[in-house]
């Protein structure tokens, strides 16, 4: 979970700076990061608010960009079935890109689901608290880190750190390549729909590649 915590330092600062820039009150800035708890949605919401977009448009746009969370929710669901509802609901609230990316492989590979869940919840609470501190720091201190350091680049780098080790098998590589091509080709879609659509395309291509690979090895076995 440490990489996730590192990623949220620059991201949280940016969100706080953003909230201050559009004239949100301190309380509204805290409410925004405590309730929404999603950097992408917070930045989108504040920027659309500053642009004077109507409420419905803002909510819809943030909903669409949040749809990727539904896929994380689906990937987590089979591992949470044995836990009491209150833990499931708490994990849903704490579900973020970083927490999901950092723990899903634990859920998939470890037989000890209790440990995986405590890792997720413990890490999630740390992330949530750290997020509040970082957005507050950004709000009150403004841009504390010089822009020339390009520290915001740490956000994609932390995702890349999680992505690299996943690219060991061919279907996974196919999924990543398909998602990469799709997200660029579909960049013109409104409301940043390209991200969710490209994700779905990548998932479909990965699954099909796995099925194709399986069929091929099964055919080879038959010849022996």
């Amino acid at each position: 979970m440490l990489p996730a915590a590192v990623a949220l330092i620059p991201f949280g600062l940016v969100c706080g700076v953003d909230a201050a820039a559009v004239g949100a009150s301190p309380l509204a800035s805290i409410g925004l990061s405590a309730i929404v708890f999603s950097g992408a949605a917070q930045i989108l919401a504040t920027q659309l608010y500053a642009a004077g977009a109507p409420l419905a448009v803002i909510v819809l746009t943030c909903f669409v960009i949040g749809l990727r969370l539904a896929m994380y929710s689906a990937a987590m669901a089979p591992h949470l079935g044995t836990f009491p509802a209150r833990w499931r609901y708490l994990s849903a609230f704490l579900l973020t890109d970083q927490a999901f990316a950092a723990t899903i492989s634990r859920f998939e590979t470890s037989a000890d689901k209790d440990r995986a869940l405590s890792h997720f919840l413990g890490g999630g609470i740390v992330l949530w608290s750290g997020w509040q501190l970082m957005t507050m720091a950004g709000y009150f201190l403004g841009n504390v880190i010089p822009a020339s350091w390009s520290l915001e680049f740490a956000v994609p780098l932390c995702f890349i750190a999680l992505l690299g080790p996943l690219l060991r098998e061919r279907p996974a590589i196919a999924a990543a390549v398909a998602a990469a091509v799709a997200v660029v080709l579909l960049a013109g879609l409104p409301m940043r729909l390209n991200i969710v659509v490209a994700g779905i395309i990548g998932i479909a291509v990965g699954t099909l590649a796995e099925l194709a690979l399986e069929r091929k090895t099964a055919a080879q076995e038959q010849f022996r």
Partner: protein
């Protein structure tokens, strides 16, 4: 409260509620059901496909407004590819960050001279 402040709170509460519903969706609905095999297979690719789709625009998009995608010359893209290779071989977040930030700073220093 001013009208703007009320609107901002309305945004906070409704975006927060919408996000929570999305997060809850499958965890609340599917937790105790057995899923079809094809679906459980597909779910294994959620992380790799979504992270790719999320990261690439961050790397390609310039910070200037209006944001456009830039492939070349793009110091962030080169640094990200170096970081990806490091992440693949080391599996270490620390080294990935060091390599990626280091590469970006070097490239920025080299191009600004």
């Amino acid at each position: 409260m001013s009208e703007d402040a009320i609107k901002l709170w309305a945004i906070i509460v409704s975006v927060g509620a919408a996000n929570l519903l999305v997060r809850l969706s499958f965890i609340a609905l599917l937790a105790n059901k057995t899923m079809p095999q094809l679906l459980t297979r597909a779910l294994r690719y959620v992380a790799v496909a979504m992270i790719t789709a999320l990261v690439l625009p961050m790397v390609l998009t310039t910070t200037a407004a209006p944001a456009v995608m830039a492939f070349w010359p793009n110091a962030k893209l080169i640094a990200a590819l170096i970081a990806l290779v490091v992440a693949f071989f080391t599996r270490s977040t620390c080294w990935t960050l060091v390599a990626g930030m280091g590469a970006l700073w070097l490239l920025q220093a080299a191009t600004s001279v």
